[in-house]
């Protein structure tokens, strides 16, 4: 949790927390296990009314932040999402809403963005691709000019909410550049196939495009010139993921610390064993560091700082490594009950592990940091 909240942020967080405690209680999450959508539509609509999808959208487009610093506000929501292992496509909704507000056409804003803000539709961001193109930043799918529009053929995966989205923001390659297209999910040649995921309520699809054509009006931003927008979207997505992982770690730690006080063996609580206390101290340290590095990344992205990519990759590489370590330690502290479906701990373990793999693995982000550092030290060698 960030340290210094404005009264408005405090109120916003408290409202979101109360809402999630009620509407994303663990019983609800368990009930969604086999649900195709993974969330209740009314729940999502009401969340949007609270402002979950408005924070990165300009006021002129019907959005608005709480504190004037929308990325930091969104990180607060994401932290609560993690603490409750909440359902709903928070990353995709916000990334696409931000992209449309920034680079979308008036028609896209009216027809799609307004409906995202109202929670009437959800959208997917089709950027990631299946192996061997599954590294951070690899985009193989080509957008080929076709008549006055564009044609797409290829596969995107994993696309969150790809099965229920009204539209997909497709990030594609055009020559050396990137092009983004807002494609209706029911366009000819678009097929979404459900995938399996480690999380209980998050749903992903493989989306194939088979000669799908869209008019020029589907373009979001510049044809071949979307690299800046895509980089920005990746930064936003990773801030949300980092904050969510930190929230889930925080909750898993709370559960485990309580357990350590309540569980007695050999006539004494687990919390009294030095061998375990020392591991709790390490876990607490990694948790606090995760919160600190997330806040740093959110601030850098909010400010569009020169080192925003570095701050984001550092956060994702750090939390992507230590987050799973912390929650696995929480499981170990529980013993056998910790690896059962019956116990709630796995809800948070799932969330941390899933998020660690999305939009760049630990290794991807470490390699990107090395690229950034090398480019800084040897300016003649540009970052890969």
């Amino acid at each position: 949790m960030e340290l210094e909240l404005t009264p408005d942020q405090d109120f916003f967080v408290a409202t979101t927390r109360r809402f999630l405690e009620d509407r994303a209680a663990v019983g609800v999450l368990r009930g969604l296990r086999d649900d195709e959508r993974g969330y209740d539509e009314a729940y999502w609509r009401q969340g949007c009314e609270l402002g979950w999808t408005s924070l990165l959208v300009a006021e002129a487009d019907g959005g608005g932040s709480i504190s004037g610093r929308g990325v930091e506000d969104l990180a607060l929501v994401a932290f609560e999402f993690g603490r409750h292992a909440s359902p709903g496509p928070l990353v995709a909704a916000n990334v696409v809403a931000a992209a449309l507000s920034r680079s979308g056409t008036e028609a896209q804003k009216v027809e799609v963005l307004q409906r995202i803000l109202a929670g009437e539709v959800v959208v997917g961001w089709a950027i990631a691709e299946p192996p061997p193109n599954d590294r951070l930043g690899h985009v193989a799918l080509e957008a080929v000019p076709s008549g006055k529009g564009w044609s797409l053929t290829g596969t995107k995966a994993a696309v969150e909410a790809g099965g229920v989205a009204s539209h997909l923001l497709v990030t594609a390659r055009t020559g050396d550049g990137l092009t983004q297209l807002l494609v209706p999910a029911d366009a000819p040649g678009v097929v979404a196939t459900p995938m399996h995921s480690l999380d209980l309520t998050r749903r992903f699809s493989t989306v194939t495009f088979d000669g799908t054509t869209v008019p020029a009006s589907a373009l979001v931003g510049e044809a071949g010139g979307a690299a800046g927008d895509v980089a920005r979207q990746l930064r936003l997505a990773n801030v949300v993921l980092c904050a969510e992982m930190t929230g889930a770690m925080d909750k898993a730690m709370d559960i485990t610390i309580e357990w350590a006080f309540d569980r007695y063996t050999f006539g004494r609580p687990l919390a009294s064993y030095q061998a375990l206390k020392h591991r709790f101290a390490d876990m607490k340290t990694w948790l606090e560091a995760s919160q600190a590095v997330t806040d740093g990344a959110a601030t850098a992205v909010q400010d569009d700082a020169d080192d925003a990519d570095e701050a984001v990759s550092a956060a994702k590489a750090y939390i992507g490594h230590h987050g799973p370590e912390v929650v696995h330690e929480c499981v170990q502290m529980h013993g056998g009950i910790g690896v059962t479906f019956e116990h709630d701990l796995h809800l948070y373990v799932r969330r941390v592990v899933l998020d660690a793999a999305l939009h760049g693995t630990v290794n991807d982000h470490r390699l990107r940091l090395a690229d950034i550092l090398e480019a800084r030290e040897n300016p003649e060698r540009p970052a890969a």
Binding site: L3, E4, I257, A260, F261, R268, P269, A271, S272, Q274, K277, H278, F280, A281, D282, K284, T285, E288, A289, S290, Q291, A292, V293, D295, G296, E310, A311, S313, A314, A315, A317, Y318, H321, N363, H365, R366, L367, R368, L369, A370, D371, L373, E374, R376, E377, N378
Partner: protein, 428 residues
């Protein structure tokens, strides 16, 4: 420590502007990694003298002791001013030898507990670089159990007579004064019979021995005190109430990695300063820069460093705004040690086998090996990570305290070694 903010406080922007101008005009750029390397004694003394001058320069420029009240030679400003100064000091030389433990814990303890006279005499002298202070804290009988100090101070009229030994005093041989924790009463519980004194290193009866570390460094010293006589005016705080200072002392010591009382130029990091000795230059030097495994290690080291930097900013803020207990300073201490450990290992791995066996031309790679050899220093110095972990678990997370055998007994009754019979059995 609470400082009352004057009404006409200099704005952060004005301060930053002033600091920037002064630093650009007066403070030379850093030339290499700013750590105490292996210097000859002559070189080291010359370096200490340079650092005293550098401290004096900052003092004269109105940049020393940002948080220290003006009546004691400081600036009477805020944490935001500290951050601004550290940012403006980025890439500049700074008197690192005088920051820790001189500015904190020594000066901070003086500010918290010293008499008006003690503060007026010593705090400005510390900020001017005239007095370098160290801590006489650990003893040969034990480092972690600080309150178990056995160096005695006995009252003799207006004087105190000190006997015993202190160890791990950094740079005592080129320093001026020390805070010294002593035992003044063995008939009460161990925490209730301690008293703190100021001790000048050049006093009669104090003998100094320099300890050679396994990397060849001789920066640490051991002092032997034999009938050292000091006036009662050197006492800080009440007689037998030394642990009230001691708990504060421990807090400052644990927070030193992120203390706002010490200058730490922004951008300084355990990875090595930019351009000199970074992980990238190391990997290039050892021919591993194009190796993806090496690049992943470079990225890991950087992520760890950035996390440490952000946590070091977060903790003091959390403590000062009372969102976290002061004991959370141990989280910072533990984080520093954990990150340092990983970076030493990564440096060793990037350097390759030459780090273990090097020729004259490969001394830079050999240094990575020597660093790795003494890797554990960061997890021992200034309190072991085991102690930090106890504090985090017990004082931050509220878990039950470890059982000890020194509660409710007079200090003289506390076991200080195995009983005689056990010792014989062990030896046979």
């Amino acid at each position: 420590m609470t400082t009352t903010e004057p009404v006409d406080i200099e704005t952060v922007e004005d301060f930053r502007e002033r600091a920037r101008k002064f630093i650009r005009e007066n403070v030379p750029p850093a030339e290499g990694p700013q750590v105490a390397g292996n210097l000859s004694d002559e070189e080291e003394l010359a370096d200490v003298s340079r650092q005293r001058q550098l401290q004096r320069l900052l003092y004269d420029g109105g940049l020393a002791g940002v948080l220290v009240p003006r009546e004691y030679g400081g600036q009477g400003l805020t944490l935001d001013h500290v951050r601004a100064l550290n940012e403006e000091m980025a890439g500049r030389q700074y008197p690192f030898r005088l920051q820790v433990p001189g500015m904190t814990p020594c000066m901070t303890i003086l500010l918290d507990f010293g008499t008006e006279e003690q503060k007026r005499q010593h705090v400005p002298a510390i900020l001017r670089g005239d007095e370098i202070w160290m801590q006489m804290l650990s003893e040969p009988s034990g480092g972690s159990d600080v309150a178990g100090a056995q160096t005695t101070a006995l009252r003799d009229g207006d004087e105190w007579v000190l006997n015993g030994s202190k160890v791990w005093t950094t740079g005592a041989w080129w320093s001026d004064w020390a805070l010294c924790l002593t035992r003044t009463n063995v008939d009460v519980e161990k925490h209730r019979g301690l008293t703190v004194f100021m001790v000048p290193f050049d006093i009669e009866g104090l003998e100094m021995h320099r300890i050679e570390m396994l990397n060849g460094s001789k920066e640490f010293c051991q002092e032997f005190l034999t009938d050292v006589r000091i006036p009662d005016s050197y006492r800080i705080g009440e007689v037998d109430d030394g642990w009230t200072l001691g708990t504060r002392w421990m807090y400052y010591e644990r927070s030193y990695a992120s203390s706002p009382y010490a200058i730490l130029p922004a951008g300084s990091s355990l990875e090595g300063d930019r351009g000199v000795g970074t992980m990238v230059s190391l990997a290039a030097r050892s021919g591993r820069l194009r190796d993806p495994a090496a690049r992943a290690l470079i990225g890991e080291a950087h992520a760890e460093s950035i996390a440490l930097a952000h946590l070091s900013k977060r903790l003091p803020k959390a403590i000062m705004t009372r969102k976290m207990t002061e004991q959370a300073a141990s989280i910072g201490k533990l984080m520093y040690a954990l990150v340092r450990r990983r970076l030493m290992t990564i440096g060793w791995e990037l350097a390759g086998p030459t780090a273990a066996v090097w020729g004259d031309d490969d001394a830079d790679l050999g240094e990575r090996g020597v660093n790795f050899l003494s890797r554990q220093v960061g997890e021992i110095a200034g309190g072991t990570t085991e102690m930090a972990r106890n504090v985090v678990a017990e004082r931050v997370l509220g878990m039950p305290r470890e059982k000890t055998f020194d509660k409710g007994v007079a200090f003289r009754e506390i076991p200080k070694g195995p009983p005689a019979r056990a010792r014989e059995e062990h030896q046979s």
